[in-house]
């Protein structure tokens, strides 16, 4: 029986489509009051006064919190706005919270609050900030790294590409907006939160209020998409807890869509200078990748666009440089494939430009510069089969039929273009724990404080437990998203599978061993007295391997032992020695576009991608992850762009009518395949995370296809019709 990898339908699918899955905002709590946040309307300065009188007297209003009356929090820090002072750092910064008996009353009262400001000069010109930019790091990794001598490598190059690529600010916009419910009982706090990390939420709120984390319970049973914006603890979470304490009522605060463009993160704007040097034969002699990315004036977040450049190609001289540019905008944050999505766009378009300069097939150029080892450290990869990805993807796509000249492929009046790019994402895990128990009712319970953010983790936990324990998947219950469960890390960085699944597997193995030990020591058991290695668990039954008729259900066994669950626990840390191995996923993506040359409209017609991402846990949910990532890659190439007013630093398309994401009509047939080769050096299951790799490379493949169709090299995303006229 192999349940792991099988295309098991999502175990929570029915709950989700019938509305039975409860998302944060859907919890009804007795005596609940409703909170609405009021935000600043200038980008920089301070509040002179806030008129709250009308709001305080509006129907149903319970409390209005501003910097005048908000309690001082012992842990408060500048990175979020907790009404501790009157400073304004960006447009859309929380400046007040209104609490009322119902939502409409709170919304109306919020409109009655008027702030007077003293404006200060705001940093809103990105490029003007370059001279005062400064280095940074991403998840502890330094922004500047490299090897060899790029100046010399470029000097000796016979062919060079030196271009600048720019990508805009993007906002995550998960379908479920941020939402928090806070309920105090004395000094204990229960928080329902739309979060990718219940544990770090618990710890951060505790720090803010100066209370022990154990006083706080955070719950997130289902999260309607996070994509990075629900990783950090932003202002509204703590403000909701503050408002609940002030109002002495449980308070629910759900963000409105325009508020999703303010205090809850964004993908930073990037300006990427790429210099590639190569021999006439196409062998890379140097890569220099210099990135400027914006951050806020209150916290550093570095978009690590050049990190992927450190692992992609065999090249003796590589320099990657990142600089932070402060702007009076909300702090940016991790967004699906942070750094890699924007960085692979620039690098992989530059590689296409190099291929054209060399008059070489762009796939051939990539094969010529293929690296078998981590090019910086020369360490081996845990597992790398990118050649096979290129091969399978090019065959499925029919790449051999491409005519290389621009504008050489047509369909009626439409220009057709084919482009390729390489995809990549790091593979890694964090410490995680889980418990698995045989229950007296004949079912199995798995518990781990991870989060379901649409990634399908309820399902693959079910599969790993079912296979390890020898029970049917429908006998497994999974509890996640609660700080009362064994600790698990943030659901981000394509880390959940690598982190949580080994813990589930280990806990299940321990539970199975305990169950068998109980059975062989029980004189009433049909396997009494035999060696533990003679006993198996299958279909929820304990049986003697040599004589399967000697069997009983584990529920019967447990029933004879006081009906106490038989539980295994595991707390694991990643075992990979990162000094000896590099662990990365790779893939190849091919795109076909059609461009109307008259009006500049681009349609993506086909995407083919093949991924090398280790062992696949579930063929069906994996397929969805890849497709979702690719759709977002198309969106990165053609649509998404948060426009802001250059004087006020306020976004002008803060709604889902004008902030464009693809609609179904924009998305073609997407053909995805995973090689399904286990990476046994990374973790005992041989799996890697797959949540992010799909968005990487895809933007470049589409951009390269557009060049092939039109001869127009657009180096500024998104590629909208006006740029192709």
């Amino acid at each position: 029986m192999s349940i792991i990898g099988a295309p098991l339908t999502r175990v929570d699918g029915r709950l989700k489509v019938t509305g039975a899955a409860k998302y944060t905002a859907e919890f009804q709590i007795p005596d609940l009051a409703y909170g609405v946040m009021v935000e600043s309307t200038i980008p920089s300065g301070r509040i002179l006064s806030i008129d709250t009188e009308k709001a305080e007297h509006a129907p149903g209003v319970i409390a209005v919190l501003t910097s005048r009356n908000a309690p001082k929090l012992p842990g408060a820090e500048k990175r979020i706005s907790l009404l501790q002072d009157d400073q304004i750092y960006y447009n859309g910064q929380p400046i007040a919270v209104v609490v009322a008996e119902n939502l409409h009353q709170a919304q109306h009262a919020a409109t009655l609050i008027h702030a007077r400001y003293q404006a200060a000069p705001a940093k809103l010109d990105f490029e003007a900030g370059f001279p005062t930019s400064y280095p940074g790091s991403h998840n502890g990794e330094p922004g500047d790294a490299g090897w060899g001598d790029t100046a010399a490598g470029l000097a000796q190059a016979e062919v060079k590409v030196e271009e600048t690529y720019t990508t805009p600010i993007q906002h995550h916009n998960p379908m479920e907006p941020h939402a928090t419910i806070a309920q105090w009982e004395g000094d204990s706090l229960t928080v329902h939160d739309a979060t990718q990390a219940v544990t770090s939420r618990q710890e951060y709120i505790a720090k803010m209020f100066g209370i022990p984390p154990t006083n706080i319970r955070v719950i997130a049973l289902f999260v309607g998409g996070g994509f990075g914006c629900k990783g950090q603890t932003w202002s509204h979470v703590v403000l909701t807890a503050m408002a609940a304490r002030q109002a002495n009522r449980p308070v629910k605060l759900v963000m409105e869509r325009p508020q999703m463009f303010g205090s809850v993160g964004a993908r930073p704007r990037t300006h990427q200078r790429l210099s590639l040097g190569a021999t006439r034969e196409g062998k890379l002699t140097a890569i220099r990748h210099e990135v400027h990315a914006h951050t806020s004036v209150i916290e550093d977040y570095l978009e690590s666009s050049a990190f992927a450049t450190r692992v992609m190609y065999d090249c003796p001289n590589v320099a990657t440089v990142h600089r932070l540019v402060q702007m009076n905008l909300g702090t940016p944050t991790f967004m699906r494939a942070p750094g890699v999505a924007t960085g692979t766009y620039a690098l992989e378009v530059a590689m296409d430009e190099l291929a054209y300069k060399l008059k070489m097939d762009p796939l051939q150029l990539r094969l010529l510069n293929y690296t078998e080892v981590d090019p910086g450290t020369k360490n081996p990869f845990t597992e790398k089969n990118l050649r096979e990805c290129y091969k399978q993807a090019s065959e499925r796509f029919g790449w051999a039929k491409r005519t290389p000249d621009v504008g050489s492929m047509r369909d009626g009046s439409q220009l057709i273009g084919w482009g390729i790019a390489t995809e990549t994402y790091p593979a890694r895990g964090l410490p995680a724990s889980a418990s698995v128990s045989f229950q007296p009712d004949g079912r199995v319970l798995v518990a781990s404080g991870t989060q379901e953010i649409g990634n399908g983790i309820y399902t693959i936990i079910t599969q790993v437990a079912a296979e390890t324990l020898g029970v049917a998947p429908d006998l497994v219950d999974v509890k996640i998203g609660d700080t009362t469960l064994p600790k698990a890390p943030i659901s981000a960085g394509s880390m959940s599978t690598v982190s949580v699944m080994p813990a589930v597997q280990a806990a299940a193995m321990q539970a199975r061993e305990k169950l068998i030990a109980l059975a062989v020591a029980d004189s009433q058991s049909p396997v009494y007295g035999v060696g533990a290695d003679q006993v198996d668990v299958q279909d929820g039954k304990i049986l003697l391997k040599s004589s399967p008729a000697k069997t009983e259900s584990f529920a019967t066994l447990i029933g004879r032992h006081g009906s106490q669950p038989v539980e295994g626990n595991a707390s694991l840390k990643p075992t990979l020695d990162q000094k000896k191995f590099a662990a990365h996923s790779f893939g190849a993506v091919f795109a076909e576009v059609a461009v109307d040359p008259n009006i500049g409209v681009v349609r993506v017609r086909r995407i083919v991608a093949v991924f090398d991402v280790g062992k696949i846990m579930n063929q069906k949910t994996a397929q969805s992850q890849f497709i979702g990532g690719i759709v977002w890659g198309i969106s990165l190439a053609l649509f998404e762009d948060s426009h802001s007013d250059a004087r006020l630093g306020r976004f002008t398309n803060a709604n889902l009518a004008e902030y464009l994401v693809p609609v179904n009509a924009d998305i073609p047939e997407i053909d995805v395949t995973a090689l399904d080769i286990p990476d046994m050096k990374l973790d005992p299951l041989g799996a890697r995370g797959i949540g992010e790799i799909g968005i990487t490379g895809t933007g470049a493949a589409v951009a390269n296809a557009i060049y092939h169709a039109t001869g127009k090299r657009v180096r500024d995303l998104p590629i909208t019709p006006d740029k192709l006229l």
Partner: protein
């Protein structure tokens, strides 16, 4: 949303009475635009007069061979009505290129005429400048982000565009808007229904405050054989136009007898230039003739910082729409 009073009208006269000048009232039909604007505080009516039960949803032939579209007929029903599809395919295509099926199922013809601009500086009350919301406050878009703004007929008080697709087709078809107010009924040609912003951008139509739209009357059309609505936008569906073109040709024996052209997404109202249409009359359909008409259509264009591309885009879109209408593409 501000607190408001809700009234349901039983007939047109009751609706008009309930919306008297002092009432600060708005008629509520589909609500697809009005309710959104109330939610974000742009519209703050003190009274909503629900007109959904008025018997104004019929689509019926007119004695002159035209067609009457009831003000309360839903956009979906209008676009899919056999008479509209057969005699006014341009209108059908224009309506179906707008919004989403869900919105079209609710939105009414009268409401579509009164759609308000999507200008960010108008839609977001936290922007301080908008002469439509706060007359005299200035135009935020003029020096702001104005990629989607007008290139024709704008003023230094307002550079917003009219967002409707339906109205662009109605302009090409020379529809007449039949309204009733305190002083009785009157007919307003579509060309006079929407106004240019001038110095009073807050006044968007020639409708008087308590006047109620009864119907949209379409004259008989010779353009059913050769018409096309082309909408250019950043994504394939569910987006307002960057530029749209309603092109209609009456072609007899290979010669254009008459032409109609209207542009959307470029001005405060559907944009027509009669000279461009006259230039096409008597000519054989050709790319040269179409490009000449296109140049005439946008001859007076004045771009802003982020939208100069609209001129070229409009020219190309006009040629493409005319070519498709003529069947020479």
């Amino acid at each position: 949303m501000n607190p408001f009073e809700y009234r349901r009208a039983k007939d047109p006269q009751a609706a008009i009475d309930a919306a008297g000048p002092a009432a600060h009232a708005k008629f509520l039909a589909g609500g697809t635009n009005l309710v959104d604007l109330m939610k974000n505080g742009v519209e703050q009516p003190q009274r909503l007069v629900d007109i959904n039960r008025l018997e104004l949803a019929a689509i019926e032939p007119l004695p002159n061979g035209g067609l009457r579209l009831g003000a309360l007929a839903r956009n979906s029903d209008t676009a899919n009505h056999p008479a509209v599809r057969q005699h006014y395919p341009l209108l059908s295509r224009a309506i179906l290129s707008g919004a989403s099926p869900q919105l079209r199922n609710l939105a009414t013809n009268g409401g579509n005429l009164l759609q308000r601009t999507r200008c960010s500086y108008f839609m977001d009350t936290h922007f301080p400048e908008c002469n439509k919301r706060i007359p005299g406050s200035g135009c935020g878009a003029l020096q702001g982000f104005n990629r989607n703004h007008a290139i024709l007929g704008a003023s230094n008080q307002c550079i917003a565009t009219h967002p409707s697709d339906m109205c662009v087709a109605l302009a090409a078809l020379e529809a007449v808007i039949r309204v009733r107010g305190a002083k009785g009924e009157r007919n307003i040609p579509i060309a006079e229904f929407h106004r240019l912003p001038g110095s009073t951008p807050q006044i968007e139509t020639s409708l008087q405050p308590e006047e109620l739209i009864l119907s949209i009357d379409l004259p008989p059309s010779p353009y059913a054989q050769h018409s096309h609505y082309l909408k250019v936008r950043d994504r394939a569906s569910y987006e307002f136009a960057l530029v749209s073109v309603a092109a209609a040709l009456d072609i007899q024996s290979g010669t254009v007898r008459s032409a109609r052209l209207a542009l959307g997404g470029v001005a405060h109202k559907p944009w027509r230039v009669e000279r461009a249409e006259k230039e096409l009359a008597g000519k054989k359909p050709s790319a040269t003739a179409f490009m000449q008409a296109a140049k005439t259509m946008v001859a007076d264009a004045k771009p802003h910082q982020n939208n100069a591309f609209k001129i070229t885009m409009a020219e190309h879109a006009i040629v493409e729409a005319l070519s498709l209408a003529a069947g020479v593409a």
